[in-house]
């Protein structure tokens, strides 16, 4: 008995030492990486951005304290949004919120004059307010009364004034929240607007169905290339990518993966572009492929719309590393599938279509 206990004690001690070593190894790595980012890469961004050494370091994930700065540089500001422009839209958004609250309290007070004047509440403002409170609820900082509640409303409200044609679409709250966790309000707004302006995000957030369909079809091509057995299992079960990819793409994995893992996905999405979103999806599918192969439709759908909470970052990125989709291949497949969709949709519908018309 004593022998066994002693052995266990020794094993526990060794495990603990190993953990401590790993921990300090990781800390050393972060300190070194941070120094490299701060002293070498960021001051020479334009020259170093695509250097092999930088890309390799980037793959390992950005240290949280430089994350916001790197994202800002990577997303860029093609839209030339300035502080002044943001202020204008922010003021509009705040005014709308105020008006909305006034209308509501007058309607609540059974003020007949208010009712006869047909006071209406702004549905976009209502929608944003409701959604802000439902963003990362477990963090407890975006909820009413929380430190980030108002600022998240401001960024989303300002955007809906800036692009009334797009307005507010669910999923946006998660994106703006991830940005706000890493940078100041103005930078978050600039990154947000430029992020939504990218082709894939624009297709989804403007709910451009033909283009969304083209992306889903393109994904299936890559799924067939990389995981053919899983693809045919999904087809047999009737599981189409729209069922799980919709959430992953709209929220850039921030809702479905643990936040630190999702942040690393964002790091690489900044580095590589849309193809990384597909690689991540395939990485997830590959990581769980043996389990997925045994599941029937409803279990698959449940599993993929609610991934295990303890997903391992190391295993996931190992799995993503096995999936290669080059920019050329990504674009080529997307163009082919877009052409296919062109033939599927009635010509008169496509005439009005902004992208496909070309």
């Amino acid at each position: 008995m004593i022998e066994v206990a002693k052995k266990k004690e020794l094993r526990d001690l060794q495990e603990q030492q190993k953990k401590q070593e790993d921990q300090s190894h990781h800390e050393n790595f972060v300190v070194n990486a941070l120094a490299t980012w701060n002293k070498e890469i960021l001051p020479n961004w334009d020259n170093m951005r695509n250097a092999k050494k930088v890309l390799e370091l980037w793959w390992l994930g950005l240290p949280p304290s430089v994350r916001g700065r790197v994202w800002k540089l990577a997303f860029g500001n093609d839209l030339h949004i300035t502080q002044e422009l943001f202020e204008i839209f922010r003021c509009h958004a705040e005014q709308k919120l105020l008006n909305n609250e006034n209308s509501k309290s007058r309607l609540r007070s059974e003020d007949l004059a208010a009712k006869s004047q047909n006071f209406v509440t702004d549905s976009v403002v209502d929608l944003i307010t409701m959604d802000v409170s439902r963003t990362f609820p477990s963090l407890g900082i975006f909820q009413k009364g929380g430190p980030f509640h108002n600022v998240l409303y401001k960024v989303l409200g300002a955007y809906s004034c800036y692009r009334p044609d797009i307005g507010y679409v669910q999923g946006m709250a998660f994106l703006a929240a991830v940005l706000l966790l890493n940078m100041e309000e103005i930078d978050a707004f600039i990154c947000f607007a430029n992020l939504i302006n990218r082709p894939m995000q624009m297709a989804f957030f403007s709910v451009d169905q033909p283009m969304m369909r083209a992306y889903f079809l393109a994904f299936e091509v890559h799924l067939q290339d990389h995981l053919p057995k899983l693809q045919s299992h999904f087809t047999e079960q009737g599981l189409t990518p729209d069922l799980y990819l919709t959430d992953w793409i709209f929220t850039l994995y921030s809702k479905s993966l643990p936040l630190d893992v999702a942040s690393r996905v964002w790091d690489l999405f900044c580095r590589d572009g849309d193809e990384f979103l597909f690689r991540t999806a395939l990485g997830i599918l590959q990581m769980f492929s043996s389990e997925l192969m045994k599941m029937e439709f409803i279990t698959l759908a449940q599993f993929l719309t609610k991934l295990p909470e303890n997903i391992s970052e190391e295993n996931l990125f190992q799995s993503i590393a096995n999936i290669t989709i080059t920019r050329e291949k990504f674009n080529q497949v997307l163009t082919e599938q877009t052409q296919k969709v062109l033939q599927l949709y009635p010509a008169d519908k496509l005439k009005q279509h902004p992208t496909l018309r070309k």
Binding site: L127, M130, R134, G238, D242, F250, K255, E296
Partner: protein, 214 residues
């Protein structure tokens, strides 16, 4: 999504049920309460669709429900309406503390009509009934509306669990009735339906026809 054809074997039924309704009326909470008997105040908004299953026994029949919880945002309606296909039951949810979510119910019904799902069993949930001091939709108005549209209304509370199970059980019983009606009016024997249209688990390997009595 062919696996969603009505399927039954040895009195085991598989039904697809969709939950629809405006943003933040409590669709996901209703699903979670019914499927897992829990209420989680910290529930993020649904993007696209979420799923749960629930098995229950009703009148000696074993029923498995496949519940599809859809995003409520109007902008997503073109995406989510694709999920309506093959649904046997539709749960329409409004929030008793927000009148606009109730006045939008006809829009949701219209959406179903457009998709030609008139034959699906529909049921109305007036959720958040526990918030009695904030009530905005009078009971009488809602019941009258439900009645004139040939729907059953249950005022539910996902938070307390009030009436949630009862409402789903009622929906199941009506889906079973609809299924048997379809079976008896079907022109061909029900079990000779197209086998390839249904993909099922081991226990559920036989399909019945997908006829509709209305």
């Amino acid at each position: 999504m062919d696996q969603n054809q009505n399927c039954h074997k040895n009195n085991e039924f598989l039904f697809k049920v969709l939950i629809i309704g405006d943003v933040a009326v409590g669709k996901s909470s209703i699903m979670k309460r019914f499927a897992e008997n829990v209420f989680d105040r910290k529930y993020g908004s649904t993007i696209g669709v979420d799923f749960k299953t629930k098995k229950l026994k009703l009148g000696g029949k074993a029923v498995k429900l496949q519940i599809w919880d859809t995003a409520g945002h109007e902008r997503f309606r073109s995406i989510t309406s694709a999920f309506y296909r093959g649904a046997h039951g539709i749960v329409l949810v409004y929030d008793v503390t927000r009148m606009e979510t109730f006045t939008n119910i006809p829009k949701w019904l219209q959406e179903l009509d457009l998709q030609d799902y008139n034959c699906t069993v529909k049921i109305l949930f007036g959720n958040k009934s526990d918030l009695s001091s904030e009530r905005d939709v009078p009971r009488e108005t809602a019941f009258k509306y439900a009645d004139s549209n040939n729907m059953f209304l249950f005022e539910t509370s996902a938070k307390t669990g009030n009436s949630v199970n009862e409402a789903f059980e009622h929906l199941v019983s009506r889906m079973l009735v609809a299924f048997h009606e379809a079976e008896s009016t079907a022109t061909k024997p029900i079990l000779s339906g197209d086998l390839s249209t249904c993909i099922l688990s081991e226990q559920e390997k036989i399909i019945a026809g997908s006829g509709c009595s209305c």
